[in-house]
Symmetry: C2
Subunit: 222 residues, 2 copies
DNA sequence: TTCACCAATTCTGAATGCAAAATGGCGACA
DNA sequence: TGTCGCCATTTTGCATTCAGAATTGGTGAA
């Protein structure tokens, strides 16, 4: 198994919640689960720690990072900034073919909205957002966006929506597609930010802060 | 030596150019220079590779990453987005005391401009930008900003400036401070973006693309 | 002289072993 | 009975070791 594969596997386990937030990560167990030795696993854990997914406690091993409400707010804020930037850049650089792709995904998404199929709706939604990022043609931006969204993905794409909010979101997406087709970068940027601000409010209202696993009150968190 | 210390040391060597861009990094040499064994060094290299400072070639070791013009442009673009976001957030959250600190750094910077002391000027400049980031009160943002600026620091703070551009930069900084004092988030955001756009043009004009170390023509780059 | 091929060396990547630190349990004492 | 301190066990962090791949140098043939 390649180094990057180990990183991906463990990252997936963290993001999918297979390793729950706040849980300790016993190296030995993960080693035998992944059928590798401790050295490559430890390398992967350090990388994931640098990404903010894992918390390293010196001489006390590693834990899956917990996301507080504050973390979630911070991540959403940055995500807003990144999407806004991507929107502006995308309007300058996107090809007609790519616009058509986004339009297709949008149409599919609206259809799933009509069917009230939340899962498929979210899938198309994500496709659209990622297409806009990709259209910005900036690998640095793409990388940071990937890292940030990965951490809020469960919150972003799992939160149930009220009919009212869902309708608003679809409406916003109409505006997003429209701005993109008009190549109105400033407009798109504003819409994306508002869109994400609303999403953030949803998520925070839903109370998606990740709880501590062993919240013994006298143990202060490092 | 702690893990984070190893990462920092090697990162510093890369950013300072002690390990030149494109240079191969023989693990054994660095090990004895840092007085550590290969295991912790390799962990650090993987982390730095995830940060984009190091390029891992499977079974062929690692190289210090080279920055192309495109990389530089991408990094500046993202930097613009992050600073713009930070400017808006800072205007909402900055304290009067922090504004005073920025104002003091600004005054000092203008004085160094009067003395044509580029080094001290850049020092104050950086203080101001970092203070704005810090005032945004978003650790995720701070972390990404730190990572992005580290990679363009040499270009950003080493490029010589024409008198004309320098004067413009100072003028822009007046506007930055002014917007901050008025807590005009949107205005600050725009000024910061223009400021960085100008900076980027300077840097790219100066031709700061990092050359290959061993550009043997028949060796294709991975 | 130049190219191709092969052996030897060097270097990377991963597993194992060892010392140090932390965790948990047991007993002593207040 | 509850708390503190000490010792055994577990786990981490690192050095060392081992296997495999890549590079280098050399040899021979065209």
């Amino acid at each position: 198994m390649l180094h990057e594969e180990v990183v991906s596997r463990v990252r997936a386990m963290l993001l999918d919640g297979e390793i729950p937030p706040g849980a300790r990560i016993p190296e030995r167990d993960l080693c035998e689960k992944l059928q590798i030795s401790r050295t490559p696993l430890r390398e992967a854990l350090k990388v994931l720690a640098a990404e903010g997914l894992v918390q390293l406690l010196p001489n006390r091993g590693s834990r899956a990072a917990r996301l507080t409400d504050k973390d979630m707010r911070d991540l959403f804020e940055v995500c807003q900034g990144l999407e806004a930037l991507a929107g502006e850049l995308a309007c300058e650089r996107i090809t007609e073919a790519e616009i058509a792709d986004v339009a297709a995904a949008h149409t599919a998404m609206v259809r799933h909205y009509g069917d009230r199929d939340l899962l498929q709706y979210y899938r198309c939604n994500r496709t659209i957002h990622e297409a806009i990022i990709a259209a910005a043609g900036n690998p640095v931006l793409s990388g940071l966006y990937e890292s940030v969204t990965a951490r809020i993905r469960r919150a972003r794409y799992v939160t149930p929506m009220t009919p009212r909010r869902w309708a608003l979101a679809v409406q916003e997406h109409e505006a997003i597609l429209n701005a993109l087709q008009r190549r109105d970068g400033v407009g798109l940027s504003h819409i994306l930010r508002a869109h994400l601000r609303h999403k953030r409010e949803e998520v925070l209202q839903a109370g998606f802060a990740e709880q501590d696993e062993a919240p013994a009150p006298w143990q202060r968190q490092a």
